[in-house]
Point group: C2
Chain length 170, copies 2
Amino acid sequence: MGDNQRMPDDPWLTDEQQQVWRAFLRMSGQLNECIERDMQQTGGMPHAYYLILAMLSESPGRSLRMNQLADVVRSSQSRVSHAVSRLEESGWVRRVPAPGDRRGQLAELTEAGYERLLELAPGHAGVVRSTMFDPLSPEQLANIHDICATILEAMADRGFTSEYPPPASC
Amino acid sequence: MGDNQRMPDDPWLTDEQQQVWRAFLRMSGQLNECIERDMQQTGGMPHAYYLILAMLSESPGRSLRMNQLADVVRSSQSRVSHAVSRLEESGWVRRVPAPGDRRGQLAELTEAGYERLLELAPGHAGVVRSTMFDPLSPEQLANIHDICATILEAMADRGFTSEYPPPASC
């Protein structure tokens, strides 16, 4: 779709932007495939479920309200609720009443869930490291950090908050 | 999971890698949400379907074999076959026999599909540009291109080819 005749305020991508966009889609798609496939093979669960265990493990009391959990893993409450039900069946998470809120619920990591996370974490970190980080120089690592922060900041400025679903102006 | 005591050859992420990984997951997740939601709202289809139309439009004869199509959009043949069936129902794609291969099939963009793509392309490009590219400096644009190329090259070196599903060594 690129065209050297584009005006600066028109919506088209430049040739360079188009190339970067396609490369980014391919890189992030392949990276997700690697991570997803490894977690399914070694952990028998989607990467999104692993992230739920990890985020709970880092929270006070190893627990989060369902809406907070949906926020930190960037998912809808209905999808997180489904995932938590599956993780409950495995004995890795349980739902408990939220203190001081009769209608609220917390998802809480069980001791078995914490142990499962510790079993899976080194292998997962190894895949992330070898796929994404080993090839990058220290300068590239700093650059990608800077780029992610810049894009996230711009999204936040335009109203993309941590709520899900995001507002229309994102 | 970070720890300054990690050995260089252990599988753990450094604190910096962990921060970058989380930022990358959040950035790419939010970006996907923006693109997906915009395409659903304005085009009534998933971004993956739009990509199929775009990739066909850039191919000779505006057509691709089903396995080539699965490859360029990084999806499985069964998912692409389902998507092509839905796009056929909308009249935007048709299946035609592959010349010289009695069992092969091509997915071919119809004239209506091409027109639909042209209708959607400027809005889609505008969302990609405003979300990802407007915030980035020319230097950051060059850096992200370089980073994507480095990660993709390393994946290719380790056996992640364009086949789907990728080999176990990815």
